[in-house]
């Protein structure tokens, strides 16, 4: 029982970040129907930018966060304006591959500015140390990280729900043409989506940087988050959150209980095999929009 609870806690901690990254994919997918691999690159950029502000320039934490978000927004606008807008209305695979290119480009940029060295925030961002609650030992980083993830997601969802722009974005999610006819500037909405998504991704990057160390390989987390996105269904925020947490827990369970049985690395294998099985049962994920086929 203790083990089980411990595993669930650990799973939730990593699942929170998967959920956050998954949400950043979903934001873009919902409005533009593009699966943006580039968000994995944004994780790296976010982690490094924040490190630069916080540790190298020793700026206060809030200013560092603001700068990182501003840079994320700037990158988002550039990506959207330069590489995505010319591709509106083109075969869907082309923009997706362009985002792959962007991911590599961002990696190159990170290498250019930060030299690919592994860095850490030390104690500058979230406090280290452990809370002991009964038999559970809760690392502070992860508890804070989880809370931040959930806060960001809640903020985002309430933005969609309660603001005018959010309403416009929801309309765009339904149908581009209808939205255009209603007088909503669809291109503007695309831009917003990219900005929000990149902002969410850099927040994920900051948290990951704190937990794992700032490095070029942070984008691997973006890959596991993909499993979460599809598991939850490409169009669903709620699904992404639930699936992110679930993937986290499944991963930990696999490590705890299958690690001894299955030789070799299973941390990447398990989420994707699980995804495959889920999709066989529910081809559009748990909460994905089921496309009704008609003739």
């Amino acid at each position: 029982m203790e083990d089980l609870l411990k595993s669930i806690m650990l799973g939730l901690a990593s699942g929170g970040i998967y959920a956050l990254v998954a949400v950043s994919y979903v934001i873009i997918y919902k409005s533009t129907r593009i699966f943006a691999f580039s968000q994995a690159g944004m994780l790296v950029i976010g982690a490094y930018t924040f490190w630069q502000c916080l540790v190298v320039w020793s700026l206060p934490i809030w200013i560092s966060i603001l700068i990182t978000l501003a840079i994320a927004a700037a990158i988002a606008i550039i990506i959207e304006r330069v590489s995505m807008r010319p591709l509106i209305g083109q075969p869907i695979l082309a923009p997706i591959v362009v985002t792959l290119g962007v991911m590599l480009f961002l990696r190159g940029i990170a290498l250019l500015f930060w030299h690919g060295e592994v860095e850490g925030y030390g104690e500058a961002f979230l406090p280290l140390g452990v809370w002991h609650v009964g038999f559970l030992s809760l690392p502070k980083i992860q508890v804070y990280g989880f809370i931040i993830c959930m806060l960001v997601i809640a903020l985002l969802i309430s933005f969609y729900k309660y603001t005018r722009t959010g309403l416009g974005m929801r309309v765009v999610h339904e149908d581009h043409l209808v939205a255009q006819n209603l007088g909503i500037n669809v291109k503007r909405i695309f831009q917003y989506s990219w900005i929000f998504s990149c902002a969410v991704a850099v927040i994920g990057g900051m948290l990951l940087g704190n937990i794992q160390g700032v490095g070029l390989d942070l984008d691997a987390n973006g890959l596991i988050a993909i499993a979460a996105v599809l598991f939850g269904g490409l169009e669903s925020f709620g699904g992404a959150v639930i699936a992110g947490l679930a993937i986290g827990i499944i991963q930990i369970f696999a490590i705890q209980y299958l690690g001894a049985l299955l030789p070799g690395e299973i941390t990447m294998l398990v989420p994707f095999v699980f995804l495959l099985l889920i999709l066989l049962i529910k081809p559009y994920g748990l909460f994905g929009l089921v496309r009704i086929e008609r003739l």
Partner: protein
Amino acid sequence: MTINVDRPCGTFDSNYYQAMEIFRTPLRKFLMIAFIVLLYAIAFILDDYIISILIVFCAFSIGMTGLQIITGYAGQISLGHAAFMGVGMYTMAVFQEHLGFNFWFALPLAGLVPMIIGMLFGVPAVRIKGLYLAFASLAAHFVIVYAINNWRSVTNGTDGMYLHRPGVLLGIDFMIDKYYYILVLTVTVIMIYFAKNLSRTRLGRAFVAVRDNDIAAEVMGINIAHTKVLAFGIGCFYAGIAGAVGGGYYEYVNVEWFTLTDSIWYLGFLVVGGLGSIFGAIAGAVVWKSLDELSTLVTPITEALLGGMAFYASAAFSLVIYSLIVIVVLVLEPRGINHRWQIIKRSYRLHPFPY
């Protein structure tokens, strides 16, 4: 009335066989033959470096043609293609190592084993569609890599295996790179010819039907489950052959030969090359591997140009250039190089009229 600009001007088919030809004019036939002869002749003119690149071009052209069959023709997005290439390599190595097969006997097996595994992983395609299928097929990659890593008695685990080129045959020593290149080129030409035949016959049309409108295809008498699985099978057959000839070139195989990045870029460069045509597949493979090669060359040059202080710039440059070229090509020509090639051909035919 529509004027057909997809065909050379002034050529008319006088029987049905003519309508089915790949090249309709004698000039184009001649050019194609001349081009292939040139490719063979190159082996005796150029040095090992270029030949090593050409072998990689050939191997990846085969693999890319396989992905073209899965994704370009049958419309099923696969993100695990490099892993099937790996299965081909390992099949070759395992049959040579454990059962003592020589290259020639192992080669068809290196296609068949990935084909069977590919058909297995193609089964989900019957239910799962689009992006969901794309990422579900990532599972194939992870499962295959996992199996190879951990089936140590057969695959030697992560340590890799040696595989062997064919020895001397008819006085030709395939250990010499240029002769091996000729072998690979021959395999490539044959495989691409087969793919072309496939695309213009019964199953090829069924693939396109499934891609363009799978529901209608089912109602119009095409068994889409069968067709999709077969598409995966044939595509993976190609991947396996590509892996076998490519692995034969390196004479060694390791799981790190087919990383996830490779699998993803396989799809990426297929899009760069252009979906739905053999030319696009070859163009994609050639562009991909030239870019790879270019980035190995770029780094030392930028360092030479920028000096020692710009050390990271040189390292980052290869990534930046690589990705920028992909982005620029796709932003300018989202339908791929093949589309641009068609436009060029068309404008040549219609010259001096613009449309």
